[in-house]
Symmetry: C2
Subunit: 215 residues, 2 copies
Amino acid sequence: MRAMDEREISPAVIDRLPRYFRYLGVLKEDGVEKISSQELSSLMNVTASQIRQDLNNFGGFGQQGYGYNVEYLHEEIGKILGLDKQHNLIVMGAGKLGQALINYMMYRNRGFLFKGAFDTDASLWGRTVGDIRVFPPEKLEEFIRDNHIDIAVLTLPKTEAQATAERLAAAGIRAIWNFAHVDLKVPGNVLVENVHLQDSLLKLSYKIHSYERDN
Amino acid sequence: MRAMDEREISPAVIDRLPRYFRYLGVLKEDGVEKISSQELSSLMNVTASQIRQDLNNFGGFGQQGYGYNVEYLHEEIGKILGLDKQHNLIVMGAGKLGQALINYMMYRNRGFLFKGAFDTDASLWGRTVGDIRVFPPEKLEEFIRDNHIDIAVLTLPKTEAQATAERLAAAGIRAIWNFAHVDLKVPGNVLVENVHLQDSLLKLSYKIHSYERDN
């Protein structure tokens, strides 16, 4: 028998969790102490019953007639998201996108520490991006081991992505945040989250095209 | 009565369209002329019946016993995605993320032309990123009108995002590609596609945490 918190959570719920975390974080910053599912509902543009259902996956958190304690719920969702643990990251590909991500994400995310970057371009070796040093690929396995790296960010050309992903998997990486414009094939124990920027822009283009046709 | 290509397409299908386009583009580059839904299925890790269903939304394209003509299907999906039309883009916020996006996306996407960037930071005015000039916000409305801008990319702090989105909507922009870490409230005729990088990283963290708990 599995405990309640171990049952299978649907991808749609997982998609919404970071959004709950974000809204609760803003409410907390604004000094809001409690919120009803109705208020959260109108704020987030999700039905109140959806919110109750989603949170019931993790055991509820709400009190009938009181609503949710903002700080507590924010903290608990943070734990569900694994934010009570530290993650160590490396960036594979220190080109423009890799550099921007380091600079953009580095100070914004508690729990996620950028430890180093790797690039095949020798002119970048030894340089720093933010505070992050760029290393040659030869150092990869040793670096992953010594620095307890669990997440690799892939910001390299799609032609190099699959081979790099396999090497990272063999080196014991736990998860890949993939910005390369290709779907990776990795062992089941390596978790992948894709950010396909081109696909996202094409979806926007589809929406424009489809809106113009229908209106 | 609405013609077949005008019926409502589900968001899940729209999510998959850019991926079909991407795989067909690679096949085309590789010189593949035709492909069965079974072959495409194993390549894309989607069931063959899913592929047939998805494409039937747009009238099919396949021939029984032949499969799909790769170049034709690539072209047709491109049209469905609105790639037979040119889109003119501006970037709101020429900081590190904005600059990286301009440099990263500029040469990769036929049909999407970056025309200019805007920033409140006066030290950036007149400078260029790639070939793209940075302008002061005062020029925004005139620039949108004169350059037939239909898409604005939002790469600015979340505190400025909502006000900027409203100004863009009033200036007649059609769509917003939003990288700010906030959900925008805009009129229904302004289409929004979000890239919430923090949310994506939190999803990856959730997956790691949940995998470790279950294994």
